[in-house]
Structure formats: C-alpha cells, structure tokens
Symmetry: C2
Subunit: 195 residues, 2 copies
DNA sequence: CCGCATTTGTCAGTCACTGGCGCTACGGGC
DNA sequence: GCCCGTAGCGCCAGTGACTGACAAATGCGG
C-alpha cells in the first residue's frame, strides 16, 4: 500500500537513515504548514515510512526537533570539567558557554529554521524550556564535581544559563555582533546587576 | 444517563461552582492514581459534570493545576511597581519576592500536594516551566516600567526569578527555616557568585 | 542455506481535545 | 405573568497523538 520501495527505489533501510529522513521531513512540514497543522502520518509519509515507525524513533511529535540537545549538554559538561582549575563557578560556566557559542555560530544556518518554528509554537517552547532545565541540572552537577559548594552549584548554573540564554537572544535579534561579544556583555551586565 | 442531579441533589449550577468542583476532583484523582492514569472523563464524572464541560473550563488536563498563577503574577508585578523608587533592579525584585514568599508560606498546606504532583509528572513540570517563563517576562516588563534599562530588564528578571526559585526549592527541602530566610540567603549567594 | 536479531508494516485501541447542535435555567424588559 | 437573550451544559461525532501486539522483511554470522 505504501510506496515503500516505489518512490525512492531500494533505499538503505538502516534504521538510522529512516531517522534522518523523518527529521528532515518533519522540519520541512513544520515550516510549510506549521507544527500543529502537520500530522505525524504526514511526516511519516514524506519520509517514506509508516506512521508507527515515526514513534519508534521519536517519543513524540516535538522531540524530532530536539535531537542535538544531548550533544550540546555533553559538550557543555565537558567544557565545565576542563575549565582552568581554580576558576570560580560563574567563570567556569562562561568558559563553557564560549565554547558552546562557537558551536552555535558555526551551524547557525542549520539551527535558524528550527528556532523560528519553536518560537512560533507554544507547545514547542514548553519542550525547549524543559530541555533547558535538564541542561542546567547537568551544569549544576558538573559544577559540583568541580568542587563548587553544593548549595551554590544549582544557583550558579541557573543564573549562568539565564545569562547565556539572554545573550543568545540578543544575538538573534542583532547578529551583526558575534555571540561571544553578546555573551561577554551579558556576563558583565550580570555582575553589574549584582554589585 | 449521568447522575446530574442524582448524587448531589440540586446543586447550585453557577458555572464557577462547577469549575471549583472540577479542580477539586482533578487534584484528588491526580493524587490517588497519578496524573497520567486519570482520564478527563474520570475527573468530570467525579465533579458531576460532562467531560465536555471540563474542557470548557480548562483548555487542557494540565491547566487545572495552574489556576492561581495569574494572581501570583499580578501580585508580583504590583509589588515590583510599588517598590521604593530608586531601588536597583535586583532589590526591587527581592522586595516583590518577599511579598510573594509571604503568600506562599500562608497557604503552604494548600499548595503542597499540588507541588508533589507536579514534581512527579514530567509533562506538568514542562507546563510549570512555561508559566515561570511567562512570569519572568511579566517581571521584565514591570522592571522596564520602573525605568530599568531595556537591555538589563530581561536579564535581571531571569536571574532574579532563578534565585527566587532556588530559594523556594531550598525551603521545600528544609522548611525549618522561613522562606524569607532562604530568600535572603539566596540573594546573598547570588551577589557572592557575581563578585 | 539457516537461524537470529533488528527494523518495519499493520491493525486495533485508548485518550485528549474540538466543533456543532439542542436543551435548559436564569435575569431583565414589558 | 410572559418573552427573550444569554450562559452554561449535555450529547454526539470526529480528528489526531500515541501504544501494544503480532507478523513480515531485511541483513548478518555460522
């Protein structure tokens, strides 16, 4: 019934490949019709697989857009761990965020359509916030492993992430300056606020 | 077919009353069976109304638990506006949070079961994060109306809220000290981090 | 060539949520 | 007392996200 081999010929059905096609199809459809006007069946159809397969690769419709987040988290945690030994908490975070900024700037074109879709869809913003919360938890844990006092780690991670996020927002609104510039300014602003 | 007037007799069907019964029923069922093991039909049945009525009062299953949030937001914004004139941004926020802390401490028993349910349910945590994001946006706006620089308002609101939330978390873990104590300590910690 | 594991297709089912329609109870104007 | 507009509700039918179970296919080592 489905054009399993009809449209694309004998595609390498390696599993990871279907996953990529599903991500691509979802991204396209979310752009064309908007998130809530595209059904999971449509995504699966464009990817050339069954609807059920979609939910085997992703737990729900939203998660398709949040796939690289685990990598970002890992990179951030590693950067925090590798930060110069006696740097205080916020500086260690800034060190990690500068690395993350590099990554974000490199594949900006790649992430931009995704950001627009998320920004336009409340339910996707919710999911994004949840991912951010998981990320700050991970950052707090990384700070603790650095020796940051248990009580301070969570607070430092939360405020640090808020500052990073704020910088990223500024960068989106004004891409003429680099993310790193925005980041440094945001951390300066933070210290100014708390003085 | 339904026991519309059968079980409870001629209840005052004033609309706002059905809403309260729905909230109560949902809270009970979420406690008894957990959020995802209770259906909207069950909530409606216990409240003595039709399932459709549930969705007339609340846009979705989660929102039942987040009803007072608008009040909290209004109270916070008013407190920020009423804060002594030349207080810097973070201090104005602290002023508002101390008022909010009073409110939270007063109906702690009222909110505690709700917190447990939310903490135990990922999808409810997502919604809570979304509400918090709306709240920080409102705080940023309140700060701007106070004359806080446009660029700083968002950052101050985000870090301030993170600090408040952190204090509230500490308070839940250690209720022997007052929320206000935790709040003051958290803001001290924040200034310590940024020094 | 044969099991064996992984991936997928198919089907049936649950449940959140929506639109539409008709009923009914209530409050105000006459 | 009567009419009428409105608001809240019950009811029904429908869409769409997601799940569990089972069978078919695909590819790989023996």
């Amino acid at each position: 019934m489905t054009d399993k081999c009809g449209t694309l010929g004998s595609v390498p059905r390696s599993g990871a490949d279907a996953r990529r096609r599903l991500q691509q199809a979802a991204l396209e459809l979310y752009q064309e019709r908007g998130f809530d006007r595209t059904t999971s069946a449509e995504i699966a159809a464009r990817a050339g697989v069954n609807e059920r397969t979609f939910f085997r690769h992703f737990p729900d419709k939203r998660e398709v857009l949040f796939d690289g987040e685990a990598d970002l988290r890992a990179a951030l945690m590693q950067s925090v761990a590798e930060a110069p030994g006696e740097l205080p908490a916020l500086d260690a975070l800034l060190h990690a965020f500068r690395r993350a900024a590099q990554i974000l700037e490199d594949n900006r074109a790649f992430r931009e359509p995704r950001l627009r879709i998320i920004a336009a869809t409340p339910t996707l913003r919710e999911r994004e916030l949840a991912k951010a919360a998981m990320l700050t938890d991970a950052l707090a844990e990384a700070l603790r492993q650095r020796g940051v006092a248990d009580r301070l780690a969570g607070l430092a991670a939360a405020t640090g992430w808020a500052t990073f996020h704020h910088a990223a927002q500024d960068w989106i609104d004004d891409p003429s300056r680099s993310l790193e510039k925005h980041l440094l300014q945001a951390f300066d602003d933070l210290r100014g606020l708390a003085s």
